[in-house]
């Protein structure tokens, strides 16, 4: 992984502090998450303490610090989904998979991410598992979906 990040940093060879966010985004795109190792490399590259990078990265919802699971669940928490009760959907997922938002299960099978909007407000509440959308969810439906992926 170190190599992949270093290759990626080549295009930022003269960059400074203001390139931090684009660099972190590129790393997440490439590797799937921001590892401790990645944060240390970026810190050395830009001359920024790791605490500052971690502080910035935790400010934004878009960054994750654990690798994605085999089933990566993105839950939309936009206004429409919020109004139609996505909070209880998140609770069900967290309880069933025993992980919190932003985490990956120990066996590496599931990961949960809460995102601000995935652009399907007419289908609220909506989630996406590995890019496949499940819309107009109810408590029963989400339990059923979870059973399906857990049975695999």
């Amino acid at each position: 992984m170190e190599n992949r990040i270093e290759i990626l940093l080549e295009k930022y060879s003269h960059s400074r502090r203001d390139s931090l966010i684009p660099i972190l985004q590129d790393i997440q795109e490439e590797v799937g998450y921001l590892s401790e190792e990645a944060i240390v490399i970026v810190g050395k590259h830009l001359g920024i303490p790791t605490s500052k990078i971690f502080g910035l990265a935790t400010f934004y919802n878009q960054f994750r610090f654990e690798p994605k699971g085999i089933h990566h669940i993105q839950v939309c928490h936009g206004t429409a989904c919020h109004m139609l009760g996505v909070v209880s959907i998140i609770e069900i997922i967290e309880k069933r998979l025993k992980i919190k938002a932003g985490q990956t299960s120990r066996n590496g099978k599931y990961s949960l991410e809460v995102v601000t909007c995935i652009g399907a407000c007419s289908q609220s509440p909506v989630i996406s598992i590995n890019g496949v959308y499940y819309s107009k969810l109810t408590a029963e439906r989400i339990k059923q979906i979870l059973e399906e992926i857990m049975g695999e």
Binding site: E36, P49, T50, S51, K52, F54, G55, Y60
Partner: protein
């Protein structure tokens, strides 16, 4: 450029570019704040310092708003006072209700403000913030539940100490102060200096206390409990009892510690004398070959950890001498114990220090040999004041006493270790004798006193010019260390003190002490030196006796075994 602004219907003179708050303070107008710190960048985080500016719709934070010509300000209008009260009520709305049990009870800025603003009921009730208490560090406890997110710790760690361990993590109501990858403090780059504890307005960051351990050991008849106290402690403790800053109560401390029940009372300044003897020997050896310079001081454990993390390449230059605390600790168990037929295992060695990093230092692996630690537990000046109060000792009505033998006499040079520049001064006095065979006519080195920041100071000893570098505080330390590594800074001796002002301003000292108090403590140390008869370590008869009877001579194998140590690179997230 100066101009006038109107504050509370009175004209005051202000300087262009300064903030409203600094102008108000300079003119003696008091406005409360929980996040502002002198000389550090303003953030406007707590908003307690709001004032009303005529013509502005909203209240402005005076700490971050610059003065403007013909400004009209009200600092205590009904609107302002009400806003401040509401702000504090909001801060209290999710604050734990455990003031009685809180480390900062009675010296908490949030508590004081709540009292000042007459907050007597919980008007706003918020969801309590629940967070894990971080007890991992031997020096500092982090309790995010009590944090008001003022950010003082973050700024002091970045801007003054150049360590950058802390930052704001997460966002909004989930924001907390934490370390990189949210690690516990003991796995972080924290150097345990405790500057963050000193600026924290609440109990969110406080010292890791060890009073229970001390009390248990005092109550254990099988243990022989000895105690040593650092040079800066004696000139600071009085403040905890309402006596003005800078009063030296060394004798009273001896008497109080004896009353509490410590079997033997030793002065760490004796350890400092030993440290001088060993460091001078190290410098003499290097002067012979002309190699291995600069010798960098290693008596500040926070600086040592800083070097181990950030600049492992500098470690070969660090003096191998242990700090005075550890030297005395080691001698107590290896020399005092057998001399008095006591098993070193049954000695419980307590050190009272003005410092939080000393707690960490005492627990370092290198400081324990065959399961015997040089020092068993370290408490601070603040903890000592609590211990004295707990035992009901009235320090105003107690006769001074002297410390115990065999370490009962110290030189005043050892005492100077308590202030920035003092270590160097103490070393130069003995170094002068070793280099020229003659004593100094005047033992004072004015150039080394009250130095601010990092300064190069040339000194002449017997026709030879030596270059000294003093670093009073870690601000700008990177440049110094890099200069030493790439040989652009050539010095013979470098003294580095993590806390600005040295140990007198340490992280274990009384809260709410300002620059003036720190200066008063420093002056007090110099006054002690002024009147003392033994002004150099090599003239301390008990030091010479110790070498004759036990350590042979400075730098001997025996001395190396007991008084020297080594350093290793630390792998932490920087």
């Amino acid at each position: 450029m100066q101009f006038n602004i109107e504050v509370n219907n009175r004209l005051i003179e202000v300087r262009k570019g300064e903030t409203i708050l600094s102008a108000l303070y300079r003119n003696g107008i008091k406005v409360p704040t929980l996040c502002n710190m002198k000389d550090l960048s303003p953030t406007g985080a707590c908003r307690i310092c709001v004032v009303e500016v005529e013509g502005k719709e909203n209240l402005v934070t005076s700490c971050s708003y610059p003065v403007e010509e013909s400004m009209k300000i009200k600092t205590h209008s009904p609107r302002v006072v009400k806003a401040r009260k509401t702000l504090v009520e909001l801060l209290l709305s999710n604050h734990p209700d455990d003031c009685l049990y809180c480390e900062r009870n009675g010296c908490c800025e949030l508590q004081d403000l709540a009292i000042d603003l007459n907050i007597r009921e919980r008007r706003i009730s918020g969801k309590k913030s629940r967070h894990k208490l971080d007890l991992s560090s031997p020096s500092i406890v982090r309790d995010p539940a009590k944090c008001i997110l003022c950010g003082r710790c973050v700024r002091v760690c970045d801007e003054i100490q150049s360590v950058c361990t802390l930052d704001f993590l997460n966002r909004g109501s989930k924001t907390i102060i934490g370390t990189a990858m949210a690690r516990d403090l003991n796995f972080s780059s924290c150097i345990n200096c405790g500057r963050c504890v000193m600026v924290c307005p609440t109990g969110a960051l406080h010292e890791h206390g060890y009073l229970d351990e001390v009390l248990d050991s005092l109550n254990n008849p099988a243990l022989h409990v000895v105690v040593q106290y650092g040079p800066a402690v004696t000139v600071s403790l009085a403040e905890e009892f309402g006596i003005k800053a800078g009063k030296d109560i060394n004798g009273v401390i001896n008497a109080a510690l004896r009353k509490i029940g410590f079997a033997q009372i030793f002065d760490t300044a004796f350890g400092a004398d030993l440290a001088v003897m060993e460091t001078v020997e190290l410098i003499m050896q290097r002067l012979e070959t002309g190699e291995g310079f600069p010798v960098i001081s290693s008596c500040c454990p926070a600086w040592v950890k800083y070097a181990e993390q950030f600049y492992p390449d500098i470690l070969p230059y660090l003096s191998t001498c242990k700090s005075p605390q550890q030297m005395l600790g080691s001698i107590i168990k290896s020399y005092y114990a057998p001399q008095n037929n006591i098993n070193p295992n049954s000695i419980y060695s307590v050190a009272i220090m003005p410092c939080l990093a000393k707690k960490f230092e005492a627990q370092r692996e290198e400081m324990t040999h065959k399961a015997i630690s040089d020092v068993d537990v370290v408490i601070t000046t603040r903890e000592l004041s609590r211990l004295i109060k707990m035992y009901g000792i009235d320090i105003q009505n107690i006769d001074p006493q002297t410390p115990d033998s065999p370490f009962g006499t110290r030189s005043s040079a050892g005492k100077l270790f308590g202030t920035a520049g003092g270590t160097t001064e103490a070393i130069l006095r003995t170094l002068h004798y070793r280099m020229t065979g003659k004593e100094l006519n005047s033992s004072k080195w004015h150039d080394l006193r009250f130095v601010s920041g990092i300064k190069e100071i040339p000194v002449k000893i017997g026709g030879k010019e030596l270059k000294i570098v003093l670093a009073n505080g870690l601000t700008g330390i990177e440049k110094l260390v890099e200069g030493i590594l790439n040989k652009t800074i050539n010095a013979h001796f470098v003294e580095i003190m993590t806390c600005p002002g040295g140990c007198v301003n340490g992280g274990g000292q009384p809260f709410k002490s300002g620059d003036k108090d720190v200066k008063a403590r420093t002056r007090s140390l110099y006054e002690i030196d002024e009147v003392d008869t033994i002004k150099a370590a090599h003239k301390n008869p008990l030091i010479n006796e110790l070498y004759e009877k036990f350590l042979e001579k400075p730098g001997s194998d025996k001395a190396k075994q007991q008084l020297h140590t080594c350093y290793t690179k630390r792998d932490v997230l920087l």
